[in-house]
């Protein structure tokens, strides 16, 4: 007989669809992008700031779609605003996302239309300040579940989410701003990309080899390997393509793909750690 009860899962894997890792990606990107936009605006690099606030807006739009579409009853999305629940990272997250995306949309709208510039700048600043929280809160959200692969990396998962967000935001800048303007984005991409590799290493270490199998085996493992390949090549391109728009764009595209793939890798690892009861049993043995 298989482990546990006929090898059946002890905890249930998520009922979520792939919209959720997509949301993690888009939301993370949006958060870091808004912060970069704010920083660039402050540094008077309006061109990159413009690209980044649009990036944040695009990320918010995708996020909003994913969040609502993934609900089994999307028409009841507004029920999210019924209560404020500090015990629920999703409830907290909904308010973070609402404040953040509201600010981003106002800022981006003002940027496009030129209307109410000062208000636009103000909300851009707000968005920039909330941005990092937007990028990272999803790590709390998934950490606050019983999926061992998400629950156990208490220290490293937020770091991974932060690094991935930084990389994706930087990649966005590489992709949509010219080589002349995208220096900050390039640096962010390089810092983020490198951090991702390091944090992943730390994550495996934090949860130990038995639990790390959730990340290294099966579909999650394949995705993680692809993500690493994409990221490393993206980093190389980003480092080499300082003066080339084309190479920058390739770097941006590779790193965006890498970030997205990494999100899926993490997501699948969580699912895998629920589907096979050995992870739960192993985790609760050591507890």
């Amino acid at each position: 007989m298989s482990e546990g009860y006929y090898g059946r899962p002890i905890v249930k894997p998520p009922t979520w669809t792939d919209l959720i890792p997509t949301y993690f990606f888009a939301g993370g990107l949006a958060g870091a992008a808004a912060t970069l936009a704010f920083a660039e605006r402050t540094a008077r690099n309006d061109r990159l700031a413009r690209a980044m606030i649009f990036g944040a807006a695009a990320g918010c739009a995708v996020s909003a779609f994913c969040l609502i579409a993934d609900l089994k009853k999307p028409e009841r999305f507004m029920n999210m605003l019924r209560v404020v629940k500090p015990t629920s990272p999703m409830s907290v997250g909904v308010y973070i996302f609402s404040a953040f995306s509201g600010s981003v949309f106002i800022a981006a709208g003002s940027e496009i239309t030129g209307v109410a510039r000062s208000a636009g700048r103000f909300f851009e600043a707000i968005a920039g300040l909330i941005g990092p929280v937007m990028s990272v809160y999803t790590a709390v959200l998934v950490g606050d579940t019983v999926m061992p692969a998400w629950h156990l990396p208490r220290k490293t998962l937020p770091g991974l989410f932060a690094a991935t967000s930084a990389t994706s935001a930087g990649a966005w800048g590489l992709l949509f701003a010219s080589a002349r303007d995208n220096g900050s984005a390039r640096r962010l991409a390089l810092v983020g990309g490198t951090a991702m590799v390091a944090v992943l290493q730390a994550l495996h270490h934090e949860i130990g080899p038995a639990q790390a199998q959730a990340y290294s085996k099966g579909e999650a493992g394949a995705l993680a390997r692809s993500a690493r390949l994409l990221n490393v090549s993206g980093i190389v391109c980003a480092a080499l393509g300082k003066d080339s728009n084309a190479i920058s764009r390739i770097a941006g595209a590779l790193l965006l793909a890498g970030g997205l793939t990494e999100r899926f890798a993490v997501y699948r690892a969580g699912c895998a750690s629920a589907k096979d009861p050995k992870y739960v049993l192993e985790a609760q043995k050591s507890n």
Partner: protein, 215 residues
């Protein structure tokens, strides 16, 4: 002021969604309290984390067992011969629930999975309510009014009885019977039904009357 704080899309469904038996009867206090945006109820202080009463919906507050106020009809489980007591709950001429009768000294209110499924047995989607007729050598079912079916069956009984009547055996002993008709069934039926069946069959001379007791 309170009205503007009612979040339309949030509570509309809750307000509409009555469950059978509650008939939308709502106490004023509940209404005003539960119609309030839960966030404000949270802020009211009793349940700041919205883990209890503050998050309760109007429907939940009104939600009550559908058997509440239903007529209780005493019955006995139709499956095996343990003879568990059943309470049949009826509202508006519809059975809303069947469960164990705690008064029964045999079953003490308990039921097995079959007994627990009695209502699903009665309400099964596979149950049919019209007579179906298949003519000799027919390839499909036909509709047949109940009255007509009863008439036809009575005719068949008498015809077969006439044709297969056995007055005496070869040795001249009295038989007084109709050997062309047989019957099967009874162990799932009521005593009264078995009694009328046996009485009628015996009068008709039908002796081949049997039920599950032997099966």
């Amino acid at each position: 002021m309170v009205k503007t704080l009612c979040l339309g899309p949030l509570t509309d469904e809750a307000l509409r969604g009555g469950i059978p038996g509650t008939n939308g009867a709502r106490v004023g206090k509940t209404m005003s309290e539960h119609a309030l945006w839960p966030v404000l109820r949270q802020a009211g202080g009793k349940d700041p984390l919205a883990l209890g009463s503050a998050a309760q919906s109007l429907r939940t507050a009104d939600w009550k067992a559908r058997t509440d106020g239903a007529k209780v009809v005493k019955s006995i489980c139709p499956y095996c011969a343990v003879g568990c007591g059943q309470n049949v709950y009826v509202k508006d001429d519809t059975i809303v629930q069947i469960e164990g009768d705690p008064d029964s000294p045999i079953s003490r209110g308990r039921l097995c999975p079959k007994g627990s499924a009695s209502l699903s047995l009665i309400e099964s989607l596979l149950r049919e309510y019209r007579v179906k007729y298949r003519r000799p050598y027919g390839t499909h079912w036909e509709e047949l009014p109940l009255e007509r079916a009863m008439e036809m069956i009575a005719d068949r009984v008498l015809k077969t009885r006439r044709e297969t009547w056995e007055a005496k055996d070869d040795e001249g002993n009295t038989l007084n019977r109709c050997y062309g008709i047989a019957h099967l069934g009874g162990a799932t039926l009521d005593n009264e039904e078995n009694y009328l069946m046996k009485k009628l069959y015996t009068a008709l001379g039908v002796v081949q009357v049997e039920n599950q007791a032997r099966l």
